[in-house]
Every structure is written in C-alpha cells, then in structure tokens.
C-alpha cells in the first residue's frame, strides 16, 4: 500500500519528466527563444502556448476528471508550474484555467459549465480578472462597482457601473469575471456577487496603464451602464465573496515562483561565468547566498504543499512561498543587473522582439532588464508583501 503523498510524489516526478521531453521535443523553437530571452509575447503566442499545454492535457490537469481534467494533486499542480518555469517557459495564463474555470465548475449552473468550460480549456475565449478597483487594492470592502438587477421582457439583466484597475491583458480578453456590489449598505461580504461580463458589451472601455517595463500588461476597465444578462451571475447573489475566497485558494499553490527563481539563478550563473575574474570571487559568494535562500524556499515550499495535502497546514504556507519567492526573485534580478554593469542599463527595446537586430550587449541582457522591471511588482500584486505579513500575524500568530 502506497500512501497518497508517496504516490503524488511519484506522479509529480513523472509529470516533470514528461514536461522536459515536451520541452525538448514538442515546444516550437521560436516560442522557446522568445520566452527564454524574456522577449515580448503577443496574444497569439500565448494562445498558441496555452493550446500546446492543453494538447498535452496539462492546461486543465488540475480540473476534476468529469470536466476533462486529470484531478491533479496539489503536489502535481505545484510541480507542473515549477518545472515549466525552470525551463524558462512562458507564463501559464491563469485567468481562465486556474481562476474562473474552477469557480464555474464548482458553483456555476449547468448552462454556464457547458457554455464556458470547453472554451476555457482550449483558450478559445480569453479571460481577464476584475477584482481590484482604484482605492481598493487589498481592501475588498472598498469595492464600488455596482450591478443593479433590472427585470425586462427578454429576461432579467444587471446594469453594471464602475471601474476596475490593474486588469492584466484586458486588451485581449473576451470575458471578464468580475466582483460587483449587488446590494447597498449591507455588510460588505454579503453584498458582493460574481458576474461574468462579455468584454464586447457596449459600455466596456479598456485603457492601458503604461508600466515601467515599457509593455502593455495592465489596464483600467471602465464599465458604464454595461448590460449583463442575469444568467451570467455565478451561483447566488451576495455569495461572491465565498467564490472569490475559493478562487484565492486555487491561486495559493503557485509553484511558478520557485521555478522562476531557479531559472533566474541559472541565468545569473552564466552571466557570472563571463564576469571579470577580479569580481568573480565576491560574485560567487553573493550567488551562493542566493542559492542557499533558493534551497530554503524550495524545501519549505514542497514541504508546505505536502502539509496542505496532509491537512496539517498552519495557514501561512502560501504567504511563505509568496514572500520568500518574490523577494528572492527580485534579489536575483538585482544581482543580474549588477553583474551586467553598464550593459545592464541599456534599454535594448529592439532586442525584445522576435525579429531582433544584434543585441547591444549580452544576448539576454534586454530581457533580464525588462523582467527586472516587470517583477518589481511581484511583491505588490496578488497580495502585497505587507498584506501577506498582516495575514500571517493575525491568522496564524494571533497578533
């Protein structure tokens, strides 16, 4: 008799091996190169990537079998993201397969499941997430986007007004899953509902927010008298907070940061190997310290995932991985910038596109810098480091 953890470990190892052969044998060279060099990926690249994963059965590997998934354990989910990131693969866009998909299969109507789940799996429809609002980043109680239910002859609908912010890839999205207020004056948590909004609806405006990495990731999404059919409400009115928490639980097991840190460390070591001999000693110590922190992150993360599977978690596991992972990743990036020296401050915009001219300096310098800027936000988005510490202080330490 094998215990579930041992079995999950074996399956995770198998999955990792399969990913490595996929990377060697199936993954197109242009996608590999773009991703490895942190070049700019466009929507087509991402859709292609997500479909490649789906072809392997991996895009929705964590879904239950009845919805086409493989019912992965937490450990497999974690190992999947970790292994892809170690190889320097593109981001596994989570909004469909990881965030809204599970909410729909867990709480959606049969019609919603039939309508949305297949196209999420294949990325035939691209999703975005409408959570944050100006002035209500981490504080959902401050949510102001309102949805008012109106009865009409063609069936009920909601009229939605408000503004979402930091909406990643809203410019590509077909659908937005959205937290809205469906009741006033009530206790914040009981007034929030979970609505699916067609981005082509009249009244939806997407406005880019330029960020310092120079590319277009995040947006403001303005919702002005947007008419949303009542059947696009997930579950019950006022239960949005419950679904959001469920979704957050899925967000928690993010192995990507471990793999990303590993990949960045390997890149840093290659850069260091070319550094002037005089500075190599000190660099070696600095890299060694980062590697040691990586080892701590890695063993703590995998043990945390196993604790969650055993049900022996203390509740701070996700925060630990997020805090340590993002901070380590940023420090690796800083070491890479320092190692590049003067080549690390050239904004090699041309090198960030597939048909690139010769780079100004080392081949991957442009991507390292762009990534450094992009990931400066890693300790801010998805629950800022300060929020993570607040959560642990209150929820785990009882302070």
């Amino acid at each position: 008799m094998t215990d579930p953890i041992t079995e999950a470990r074996q399956r995770a190892e198998g999955l990792k091996a399969a990913i490595r052969s996929f990377y060697d044998g199936v993954m197109p060279a242009d996608l590999k190169r773009k991703s490895r060099l942190h070049q700019v990926l466009d929507k087509d690249d991402y859709v292609r990537w997500m479909r490649l994963l789906n072809d392997q059965g991996w895009a929705i590997g964590h879904w239950p079998k009845e919805y086409g998934g493989q019912a992965w354990s937490l450990l497999e989910r974690f190992a999947f993201e970790d292994q892809l990131a170690r190889l320097g693969c593109p981001w596994v866009i989570p909004f469909g397969v990881k965030y809204v998909g599970p909410v729909i299969y867990a709480f959606g109507s049969p019609e919603q499941k039939a309508r949305f789940l297949p196209r999420i799996a294949t990325t035939d429809e691209f999703w975005a997430q409408g959570y944050s609002e100006p002035g209500a980043g981490s504080d959902l109680a401050g949510l102001r986007t309102e949805a008012i239910r109106v009865a009409s002859s063609e069936g009920d609908h909601y009229v939605v007004n408000g503004q979402k912010v930091w909406t990643t890839y809203a410019q590509w999205a077909d659908w937005l899953f959205c937290l809205v207020k469906t009741a006033r004056g009530e206790q914040a948590q009981k007034s929030i509902s979970f609505l699916l909004i067609d981005m082509r609806s009249p009244g939806v405006t997407v406005k880019p927010i330029p960020t310092m990495d120079g590319y277009h990731h995040v947006n403001e999404v303005w919702l002005e008298n947007v008419r949303v059919p009542a059947e696009n409400l997930v579950g019950a009115e006022g239960e949005g907070w419950t679904y959001a928490k469920y979704l957050l639980k899925n967000e928690r097991t993010a192995g990507a940061i471990v793999g990303m840190a590993w990949h960045a460390l390997e890149r840093l070591k290659s850069l260091a190997a070319e550094a002037a001999p005089a500075s190599r000693d000190r660099l070696e110590t600095r890299i060694g310290e980062l590697e040691l922190r990586f080892m701590a992150l890695e063993v703590a993360s995998y043990q945390a995932v196993e604790s969650m599977m055993r049900g022996t978690e203390h509740g701070a596991e996700a925060s630990l991985i997020k805090l340590r992972g993002t901070e380590l990743y940023q420090h690796i990036a800083e070491a890479a910038v320092d190692t590049l020296g003067l080549a690390g401050v050239a904004w090699d915009a041309a090198a960030l596109h597939a048909a690139a001219p010769p780079p100004l300096g080392p081949e991957d310098a442009g991507g390292i810098i762009k990534d450094h800027f992009y990931n400066r936000a890693a300790t801010i988005f998805g629950g800022a480091s300060e929020i993570q510490r607040n959560i642990v202080a209150k929820g785990v330490l009882g302070l």
Binding site: R86, T285, E289, A296, V299, R324, N390
Partner: protein, 369 residues
C-alpha cells in the same frame, strides 16, 4: 535507514512530556549550579527512557534509530535546553563507535553507553601550534573546546598517526594519566574542556585512514543535522514565547503586539522557524544520499540555520526589552544556547564554504534540474 515520521513523532511527544515534567526553567536553574554542568539524575532517566540506546545497533539492544528519530529527540533537547551530553556522547561518540569500533571495543563499551555509565566526548579542534600526534600508542598534543570533555569517561581524539601517516581516531581514557584537563563552562552553561596530552595511552579506533575519513564525515554530518534539530527546538520556543509576550506586555495603554512593526517582525521570525524546520527535515533526509549531495544539503541547512537562529534569538531578546537580557527570563538562555549551537560541528562560514564547494561539484544543473 528507513525514515519513519510516525516513530519520530511518538518519540518527540514522549520526550517532550518527560522534559516538561522534569526539566522546567527552575529545575534547569538548579542543574546549572551542579558541578558536572548537567543533571546526573536526568541522565539516568534518559538511559531508562532509551534515549542513550537510540543510536546503538539493534543487535546490541539498541534502537538503530533513523535521523528523524534522532532529530525528534534533539528538538526536545533544544526546546528545553537540556544540559546533558546527549549530542556529544549518545549521538556523536556513539555514532563513531558504531561505525568504527572493533567487535571487542563495541562489546566493551556499548553496555555502558546504553545505561549511561559511560560518557564519551569527541575531541577534534586543536590549536595550530600543538597538533595531536600518536606514536607507539602514545598521544601528544592539545585539543580545545571539547564539549563535555570535563566529565567524559572516554575521549575519542583525532590525531596524526605518527607511525603510519594519515589522520586517525583514538580512544583515550582521561583517567589513565598523561592527560591534563582544563575544565570550564561554555556560554550556555554546559561543561567543556581544553586537553593537553603528554603521552597518554591511545587505542586506535577504525581499521584504516580511509575508513576513518568516511565514517567521520558521515558522523559529523549527522552531528550537524542533530544540531539543526536542536536549533529548531529552541527557535520554536523563542517564536512562541515572543508572540505570547507581544500579546501580554502593555505599553502606552495597549499590548505591544498591536504594533504592526512588531507584528511584521514576528512574522519574519515565524517564517524563519518554518524554514529551519524544512531545512532540518531536508538535511535529515539527505544523510542517506551520496556524499556530495549530502554535503550540499547538510551544510546549506547548517549555514542557513545558524543565521536564521541568530536572527530569531536577537529579535526575541529585542522584543522582550530589558527582560530579554536577564538571567531570570529563559530568552537569554536560548540566546546563549543558540550561540553555542552555531559554533559546534562547523560554524556558518565553514558550512557555507562547503555548501558552495559541493554546488560546484554538482555542476550547473544541481540536484533539482
């Protein structure tokens, strides 16, 4: 070795219960005043509880415990700051004897180890100007900072083999003469000694230099990992104690734990505790792996834990304010124990260097490619 989480957990629970009942803060204060630097009655209890046979082979009535079980005991040792020579004698000394002792040596010494009547100490560090050397069965030279060397019944001493060359281990009976012992206390109150051998009778331990080197490396890694577990026990107590103090201590009319700055620092202590736990477990698991990989994980863990434990100890003192540096509060005792813990069986710099070297040997992909 079969890693067995459940057996370890049971041992941890029973040891913790024993220590809670018999080794409270005040009881320990009395132990600190004993001439031996530890409690002889507790030591007898340990023998009865089977702790001293943990590392002995089953064939000799021992438990042949795996690193998880050893770690479980060491966690309790760290959490209650037990003063007895568990690590020095029952783990390190016994481990060397198990790996290197001849049948005759084992038959002669194992019973005493199991019943606690024989205490071992391992003498390794020496001043650069007086290395230890054995010629014709006689040992000369100096050893320093020998943990529990003040009370050991037998010493295991590393020395150059002046007859055949190479580094060997020797069994020395300090009572057999030609051994001068300077006894003192470490900062955590445990006994130690500097030793001066002037032709002390020395009996070789281990068949040859190669066997000694291999066994020594393994046992020293076991010792380092046991020290990690001890640190984990102490760190857990400091984190818990500090969080409790933050809840009860009031300043300017409210609990100081309501201050977000202290909350965030407490969280950082807690995160370090979790990393110490994770690295300790990883290092225990690594003890069975090939030498370079074992070195990478064990030394990485010890180096990281030295620093993590120092940070936790510093923060625990700081957040307890003036009380944190007094004898009356246990915090300062954990602070000192962790200081000794960090220096024993390889300090942070030594282990970090070994971690780096092992990484280079493992090559670009490391263990995790």
């Amino acid at each position: 070795m079969n890693m067995d989480l459940e057996t370890a957990a049971m041992l941890r629970d029973s040891a913790a219960r024993y220590a809670a009942d018999n080794y409270g803060f005040l009881q320990r204060h009395a132990v600190l005043r004993e001439a031996t630097g530890y409690s002889t009655s507790a030591w007898r209890d340990y023998a009865e509880l089977g702790w001293l046979a943990l590392r002995l082979p089953e064939a000799h009535g021992g438990l042949d415990a795996d690193p998880l079980a050893v770690g479980a005991l060491m966690e309790v040792v760290g959490s209650r700051l037990l003063m007895e020579p568990v690590l020095a004698s029952a783990i390190v000394g016994t481990g060397l004897l198990v790996k290197l002792g001849s049948d005759a040596q084992q038959v002669a010494l194992f019973p005493g180890l199991a019943d606690g009547s024989l205490r071992l100490a391992f003498a390794d560090a020496e001043p650069a100007d007086s290395p230890c050397r054995v010629r014709g069965g006689r040992l000369s030279g100096r050893k320093i900072s020998v943990l529990h060397g003040d009370v050991a019944d037998r010493l295991i001493v590393s020395a150059l083999d002046g007859d055949n060359g190479g580094r060997r281990l020797y069994l020395v009976d300090p009572a057999a003469g030609e051994t001068e012992i300077t006894r003192y206390r470490l900062v955590d109150g445990r006994g130690a000694a500097n030793l001066h051998f002037a032709g002390a009778p020395a009996e070789p331990l281990g068949a040859d230099t190669a066997a000694v080197e291999a066994a020594l490396a393994e046992v020293l890694d076991e010792a380092a990992v046991a020290a990690c577990a001890e640190a984990l026990g102490a760190v857990r107590v400091l984190v818990t104690t500090t969080c409790e103090y933050l809840k009860i201590r009031k300043q300017f009319g409210r609990a100081i734990g309501t201050n977000q700055a202290l909350q965030h620092r407490a969280v950082d202590m807690f995160l370090l505790q979790e990393e110490v736990a994770a690295l300790t477990l990883a290092a225990q698991q690594a003890l069975g792996r090939p030498a370079v990989e074992r070195a990478r994980v064990v030394s990485g863990a010890k180096a990281y834990i030295c620093n993590a434990a120092r940070h936790v100890a510093n923060e625990a003192v700081q957040m307890h304010g003036g009380l944190g540096v007094t004898e009356e509060l246990d915090v300062s005792h954990y602070f000192r124990r962790l200081m000794v813990n960090a220096a024993l069986f390889g300090g942070r710099d030594e282990h970090f260097a070994r971690f780096l070297a092992a990484g280079q040997k493992l090559g670009a992909g490391g263990m995790h490619a």
